[in-house]
């Protein structure tokens, strides 16, 4: 029978062979997928937990909330609790331009600076402690100019934000009259990053208010 399959060149024959191949291939893949899918799902969860651990004080649970839906660039909020009490709130935001209604939805003042990044939007995870300090800033995505804009991901630049009391600083770069030391030759990237932090602060304050913590 194998020989007949090989010799026969009719179109139906070819279709049968290909379909058979695809079916077997599909079965093999379904098997491998079954074996790996749980692990792959875990990978995403672990990644998120690791990212939160970098910017939050010690916590045992984190409640995630999508505050601005988007397939590529959602804004999310994480309320981290230890022993049932909130210890910190993390905000995932980016520098993409928000419309007036989006700003309203997030309770961000309409006149806030929305400086844009040089290249694709910068994505940050900003961690706040419950008493109003920035615990950490994690750069999730940055496609700025290598060697210049990418220096926002250095401890030196991040020290502008980390451990700062949110009401104790003016959140714009020094060039614009604020307190943030911008990077040399990377003012645009510095501005964009600071703008994201300012937006995150507004989001954090709004969440704290709604949680009745203050």
């Amino acid at each position: 029978m194998m020989n007949r399959i090989r010799k026969g060149n009719s179109d139906l024959n070819l279709l049968i062979v290909l379909t058979l191949f695809s079916a077997i291939s599909g079965l093999i893949l379904a098997l491998v997928n079954n074996v790996t899918k749980d692990r792959i799902a875990m990978v995403a969860v672990i990644k998120q937990k690791k990212a939160l651990m970098e910017v939050m004080p010690a916590f045992d649970t984190a409640e995630a909330e999508t505050i601005l839906a988007d397939p590529m660039d959602p804004f999310e909020l994480f309320v981290c609790k230890k022993d049932q009490k909130p210890v910190g709130i993390a905000v995932m935001a980016s520098s993409r331009l928000l419309s007036a209604e989006q700003l309203k939805k997030l309770a961000i003042p309409e006149n806030i600076r929305q400086d844009q990044s040089y290249a694709d939007p910068i994505k940050l995870l900003v961690g706040f402690t419950i008493d109003g300090k920035i615990k950490g800033v994690s750069i999730l995505d940055c496609k700025e100019t290598p060697g210049l804009g990418t220096n926002i991901n250095t401890p030196a630049f991040k020290s502008n934000y980390v451990d700062a009391g949110i009401d104790l600083k003016k959140w714009s770069v020094k060039k614009d009259g604020g307190d943030v030391e911008q990077l040399t030759a990377a003012t645009i990237s510095s501005r964009a990053t600071t703008a994201i932090v300012a937006k995150s602060i507004a989001i954090y304050k709004n969440k704290v208010k709604s949680l009745n913590l203050k």
């Binding site: 090989r6 070819l14 062979v17 290909l18 893949l29 491998v32 997928n33 290598p146």
Partner: protein
């Protein structure tokens, strides 16, 4: 197969018939995944896995596949192994999965794999085909590692993440597109030159 034969095959795959430098195939991953030695090796090992497995499978099936549909049939086999590798890397080596991105599924259109299937595995026994796949894959990995070392060293002064020379001024262009093209071009020229000297 004697050890001598294996050594001869290895020499063929890495030097005389090196897929990147002699046959000049599979350039997209060579340019895209060689920003660091680690990524280059990750890509190379994935290709070795797919190439060897697909060569074995195609060699086993070579008498069953009708001639007219051999290319689509090969593609189905290769795509299957590529997806398996894709899922395994996503599950067990997440950092590599993020580093290589879409270039893992793009292994399916890597001309090297289809080329070897057509030129060798379809016409030879299983063991020789397996070895052919293995040595060609190793050759490809070596060339990826070579380009990767040059680019990583010049752009960051490191190799595999370990600082070799702490540069103060880094040749950052090497991590970007132009650096990739120029490095590959110059390396190819150098190898051509050395080859002609030998002759």
């Amino acid at each position: 197969m004697g050890l001598d034969n294996l050594k001869k095959e290895l020499y063929r795959g890495v030097v005389t018939e090196n897929p990147t430098f002699r046959i000049v195939l599979g350039m997209c991953p060579t340019l895209a995944t060689t920003t660091s030695v680690q990524n280059a090796l990750g890509m190379g090992i994935s290709v070795i896995a797919v190439l060897t497995c697909s060569n074995i499978a195609i060699s086993m099936l070579r008498n069953v596949i009708p001639n007219k549909v051999r290319i689509p049939a090969f593609v189905v086999v290769i795509a299957t192994f590529v997806t398996v590798v894709d899922l395994l890397i996503a599950a067990f080596i997440p950092p590599l999965y993020e580093a290589l991105g879409i270039f893992i599924p793009l292994i399916v259109v890597n001309c090297i794999i289809l080329g070897r299937a057509e030129a060798y595995a379809a016409k030879n026994e299983v063991l020789p085909s397996a070895i052919d796949g293995l040595v060609m894959g190793i050759g490809f990995t070596c060339s990826l590692a070579l380009i990767g070392s040059i680019r990583e060293f010049l752009s960051a002064g490191t190799l595999l993440g370990y600082t070799v020379v702490p540069f103060t001024h880094k040749f950052i262009l090497m991590t970007l597109a132009p650096g990739a093209f120029i490095t590959l071009g110059l390396t190819l020229a150098l190898i051509n030159f050395l080859q002609s000297k030998e002759n």
